[in-house]
Amino acid sequence: MQIEKSAMAGTLESSDALVTVEPGNQGIELEISSSVMNQYGRQIRATVLETLERLEVKSGHVTVVDKGALDCTLKARVECAVFRSCDKSAAGIPWGGVIR
């Protein structure tokens, strides 16, 4: 998938994350800040990168402001932001396909 325009998903509530994706053409540029950075920074990065890879997103600027979200929440927020960025979030989400 391709990030076509800026889009966001999530909130800044505790145990959630706010994910912003923006178009870009220099591969994935990832920025992370987190309330649990010291203990989970690497896992957050790995989860976000895996999710983007699964969605076949090759480039774009991705910003994650994490407030202690679990991995499942992070995945869902990244997926939603990417689908919104190419106007695919209203219908035809591939449930059971790349979204699982």
Partner: protein, 520 residues
């Protein structure tokens, strides 16, 4: 050198007889030489000790560079006195190299962080350290390592002369013109003044700061005029809204209530749950709610609680008034119900921090305690508890009476949810050990109960009562299965705080935090 809870204590800290933590009751039976203050004689009758300002009081007490000033924390996050005194000493008198020895410090004391960064305050000795002060100390800005002590460890250290107080400042809701102080009767009431009592007895000089001057004699006095050098009257010693909350409410959160019910079940399964038992609980959600369920079991068995101690709040006062507990003795009051009850409700008394929890006197109240119910930021598979450092390694808590009541009581129950957000409360190794595992008996979480293997007698009690329990390792694995296995927090080598066990040995150290990088 490695201590009994497996922490590596740098050798350079093990000087002047300092030892590493060796286990519970290691110092039992040893003798100490008590320190004594050098105090001034006021033989000529004085009409009044009131001076015009804090500066005048400081001058009258011979304040100079390098001195240790003591404070107590009954005004909690509403306190104005620490900042007021330090401002007068540093900005008006130009003093430097000062040491603050407080019973606890909180967010209210953020301005002190500036004095640390300017090098005016070079030492901090406290139970609690939070807010900006916690951050600057964790970033290595304090000249000497902060010393963190429990509420019982502090009077022990003062009596042993390890902390020598040059001037003690008493924040007094009421005082008369010669310094008899009480925690009630004014506009910034806090109830008990228990933490200030030892300070006033062992300090060279004592200054009372009050915003409500009352007629002589202000009786019964918590801090007595015989120990006071000067009285300063200010507009306000604190913000009443932050000193005592409105009545502490019992949690309605079903998870808290479930854990609280299990705490009560555990208590009721032990042989200590009998007529006249003694009890202390924290004021956290599930700890406080345990009161409610305990009352049910007390009614069922037809028994009453003999006495309760602690930081006290409304629900315990309520039980006292209903006759369900014989006596309530407290060092600190958390809400207005408790503030308005101490020394008023029959059976509600005040005690000093030493009487409460000092391990080096001849028998503190905690030593007669049957049960204590406490919270934790983290607890590891060795039952070691952390209530001081956050998951990022920054100082933002307080051991308080946690290690003292855990060590003294017959049954110490920790109640905490298994995870908080993404943080595993039950973990492999706590960031900092503040209460050693050999003092902790039972862990109650929302995912199950674990009993310390050091207590086969309690395991038998739970089994007999049909209360299911699991190993603490399985609780840790459950937590990690939800939130993921955390990376260890990265620290520099520089020690920024020394965590003293209540007996004066070194339990752990806190090191300077390292900026996070994604590199391994």
């Amino acid at each position: 050198m490695r201590n009994a809870v497996g922490r590596d204590i740098p050798d350079e800290l093990l000087v002047n007889g300092k030892e590493v933590y060796q286990g519970k009751n290691y110092m039992d039976g040893k003798y100490i030489q008590k320190a004594s203050p050098r105090t001034r004689r006021y033989e000529k009758p004085q009409e009044s000790k009131i001076v015009d300002s804090l500066v005048d009081a400081l001058k009258a007490c011979g304040a100079k560079d390098g001195m240790t000033f003591s404070f107590h924390h009954h005004l909690r996050n509403g306190d104005f006195v620490v900042n007021m005194v330090m401002k007068a000493a540093i900005e008006e008198l130009g003093l430097k190299d000062l040491i603050i020895a407080a019973t606890s410090l909180g967010d209210a004391h953020d301005p002190i962080a500036d004095y640390i960064e300017q090098g005016k305050v070079v030492g901090i000795q406290t139970s609690g350290i939070r807010g900006r002060m916690g951050e600057v100390v964790s970033n290595g800005k304090l000249k000497t390592p902060a010393i963190i002590r429990s509420h019982g460890g502090r009077p022990r250290a003062i009596e042993a002369g390890e902390v020598h107080i040059d001037i003690a400042f008493v924040a007094a809701p009421t005082s008369d013109c010669v310094g008899n102080c009480r925690g009630i009767g004014g506009k910034s009431n806090c109830g008990s003044l228990g933490y200030a009592m030892t300070d006033a007895k062992y300090a060279n000089h004592v200054v009372v700061v009050t915003d409500c001057l009352v007629d002589f004699p202000n009786m019964p006095a918590s801090v007595e005029a015989i120990d006071v050098d000067a009285v300063v009257v200010v507009d306000s010693i604190g913000n009443p809204k932050k000193i005592a909350s409105a009545a502490a409410r019992i949690s309605q959160n079903p998870r808290d209530l479930m854990m609280a019910e299990n705490v009560a079940k555990v208590i009721a399964s032990t042989p200590y749950f009998k007529e006249g038992f003694s009890f202390q609980t924290g004021v956290g959600g599930p700890s406080l709610a345990a009161n409610l369920f305990l009352e049910k079991y007390m009614d069922e068995r037809g028994i009453k609680m003999g006495w309760a101690i602690g930081g006290i709040c409304g629900p315990m006062v309520e039980m006292l008034k209903k006759g369900k507990v014989g006596k309530v003795i407290d060092v600190q009051d958390f809400d207005l119900d408790a503030v308005n009850s101490i020394n008023q409700t029959p059976g509600h008394y005040e005690m000093s921090a030493s009487q409460y929890a000092n391990p080096a006197n001849k028998g503190a109240f905690v030593n007669k305690l049957d049960f204590v119910v406490l919270a934790a930021l983290e607890i590891d598979t060795g039952f070691n508890v952390n209530v001081l450092t956050g998951s990022d390694g920054v100082l933002r808590g307080a051991p308080g009476g946690h290690p003292d009541t855990a060590a003294g009581s017959k049954c110490c129950i920790i109640v905490t949810p298994l995870v908080r957000g993404r943080m595993a409360t039950v973990c492999e190794h706590v960031v900092t050990v503040t209460t050693p595992g050999d003092c902790v008996d039972v862990l109650v979480t929302d995912y199950g109960i674990a009993v310390n293997p050091l207590r086969p007698d309690l395991i038998e009690c739970l089994d007999r009562a049909g209360i299911p329990h699991v190993s603490i390792e399985s609780l840790k694995e459950k937590a990690y299965s939800i939130v993921g296995r955390p990376d260890p927090v990265q620290f520099e080598d520089h020690v920024v705080a020394v965590l003293e066990a209540r007996d004066g040995t070194i339990l752990d150290v806190v090191r300077q935090i390292k900026p996070y990088t994604f590199e391994d």
